[in-house]
Subunit: 455 residues, 2 copies
Amino acid sequence: MSKSQRQMKLGAFFMIPGHHVAAWRHSEAEAQGVLDFKFYKKLAQTAERGKFDMVFLADGLAVWDRFGTGISHTVNARPEPLTLLSALSAVTEHIGLAATVSTTYNEPFHVARKFASLDHLSGGRAAWNVVTSSGENEAHNFSRDSHLLHEKRYERAREFVDVVRALWDSWEDGALLIDKESGLFADKDKVHYVNHKGEAFSVKGPLNIARPPQGHPVVIQAGSSEAGKELAAETAEVIFTAWQTLEEAQKFYSNVKGRMLQYGRTPDELKIMPGVFPIIGRTRAEAEAKAEQLKELIHPTAGVGLLSALISYDLTPYPVDGPLPELPDIRDINGGKSRFQLLKDLADREGLTIRGLYQRIAGARGHREILGTPAEIADQLEEWFVNGAADGFNIMPPTLPGGLDDFVELVIPELQRRGLFRTEYEGATLRENLGLARPASRFAAAPAVPQTQTS
Amino acid sequence: MSKSQRQMKLGAFFMIPGHHVAAWRHSEAEAQGVLDFKFYKKLAQTAERGKFDMVFLADGLAVWDRFGTGISHTVNARPEPLTLLSALSAVTEHIGLAATVSTTYNEPFHVARKFASLDHLSGGRAAWNVVTSSGENEAHNFSRDSHLLHEKRYERAREFVDVVRALWDSWEDGALLIDKESGLFADKDKVHYVNHKGEAFSVKGPLNIARPPQGHPVVIQAGSSEAGKELAAETAEVIFTAWQTLEEAQKFYSNVKGRMLQYGRTPDELKIMPGVFPIIGRTRAEAEAKAEQLKELIHPTAGVGLLSALISYDLTPYPVDGPLPELPDIRDINGGKSRFQLLKDLADREGLTIRGLYQRIAGARGHREILGTPAEIADQLEEWFVNGAADGFNIMPPTLPGGLDDFVELVIPELQRRGLFRTEYEGATLRENLGLARPASRFAAAPAVPQTQTS
């Protein structure tokens, strides 16, 4: 293998205590650890031992009970991602820390500031997974009667990300002088008002923290709808996406990378990392038995609830062993549009009942499920990686800590032997490890804004 | 000394790299540490070695540049408090973690969730210092033209705190079952919608994290105006307040404790902890020299800016060696009303020029300044503590780490010798150390709300 061989990027997607909807019932899962920092610390340190690029945390702003099925059977009690990742930053040294934060129910100033803070405290390891939220139940926790429409959410998201980046830039590199002798703490010519006035936000700035070590914390995006692809091509540095087949993934990969040109970006400036749900066995039979066992642990109420939420349509009135009912047109779905389409296609293609479909997706939740020995897992990752479908993967262990331990002990060494994955971190920051350039401040070349009285 | 002797509670108020406005210029201050986690870790561990009840962090949502004087000379780059305290929770074991979060520019769901998360991850050590913000420049970072009026802010704050507490209660103790055998993760009869519909907020709930270990993270409040006192008597468990004289502090102490009865609370349920700025020397002369040195380090622009911001009135047009100009009536001040009055009174009482006043308050910012040997410092704390003026103090070291090291090495042992301060932490949680009872969930006795479909 040559030293310049392209290598894959890997995220460790922590869904505690495992990605499978029934993971918490599995004997291997440390379900009591859902609110215990010691458990998360162990997981993060395992992922760092495996040289993962980052820990990735999803998020939602309501209990998973959209159809009245979730409270009893679903894991609904988890720490807020930024709080958790901030704590984990103190007990790790190299691994990136990626938190999901919605643009629909937040303010750009808070978000810019929190990620800048995490980036400073962690020495340049913060990443923001931008989502727009997708449920009515989230709206009801934030004094809104209903959820913003899909297009409106993306307009707001675009403006939100732009304001956040402007705030990160509002202190140029080198603005902090901290010169005890002269009494100059900062160079005022390098600190800028952002003076943003847009459709959704008016933000004056500057931020009250200096420019993050990475310039900008890495911006991740997860939407795969038309609006999502366009926003990603314009603004994302990493895409976390869900595809079932090589062909679909290749099509998405070339489509999004193709769209980047119109925004003056090169394909290398964006890493596409599909989610992968790996069921690993020392033998194939062991992996298959593990998959079967997880399926059997799904409580039907939890399975139907999960599926209903994923397609934004209530399936609870329908017989669980019957087919999917007639579903609404995708234009009327104000949730995850791409996930809706993916699951509908999957049920059609494989002729699945409701139970069959929820069993099929209760682990990967629509992401790609791969199963087998460590070599077979590595083969399946390699296939997508070398065939223009992925720059890396967001790994979704079925159970925790077992599924992550297996990946680190068994699969990572196999990827390393093939030269497909690092044996040491290349850089000090997440951005360096991902091979992403550090952006310049948008204010760096501009003349300084004079400091006028602001009130 | 008897074992049952009443002991004082102590907060370590970290204003990095020291409370004095010129602290960062002092040779002892590690000014380069303002964004360095290692520095904060050392400070928190020092405070924990000293058996402080808690680390306390103030906050603001804009740069300190209200009158165009602050960017060059003032420390305007600090980590966001909740991010920092979450990181510190991972490297400490006993000390409480108190973060300031404004009710004016936040949402109750986020705030409830973040503090619940910190409380879980830290094993019951979180505290929320409730503030209502006080500046126009904060409004401009949150798409508002102007700051909410003082009374409106307090109405919103009262409702905000109530919603946050309801959300903390929305999972009763014991709601988490995590029973792998039956597949029941939670007891749905112990998880409740809060269904709040009020003037400022509509929040359905429940929270997506279980009840915090402390039941409620400790609620701190800082306002000392009429509205602030009333809100504190109703809702606060700790008050952080600013008084210059024993008489004023006694009056405030008895006034607020007296107001508690009407809300069905006993005086013990609230700990009043005035801020104290201690300048410690091995000899009195050493302490005086330290005070003088800090005064000389104040850049006039920084001094006038600090003073202007504290009184919410622009003093930059006036001669620095002249008297305070005619100030507006307190009714027209839409900022920290009690701080305005305190500083006006101080200037009148001592006949201070603008320079004299900013020199006088550039350390303690209106809080009580005490100076002397460790025994003299202990005397001054004891005087207020035993004479009905305080249940403890929020200690504001002039420089960091030096001022904190001195307090821990020199003053704490003196307080311990006098039986006025603990030698070991009494409990596992902040609430236990402060001697505050753990509240029951408001939903605990009520019949369960049936889970109906929510969308």
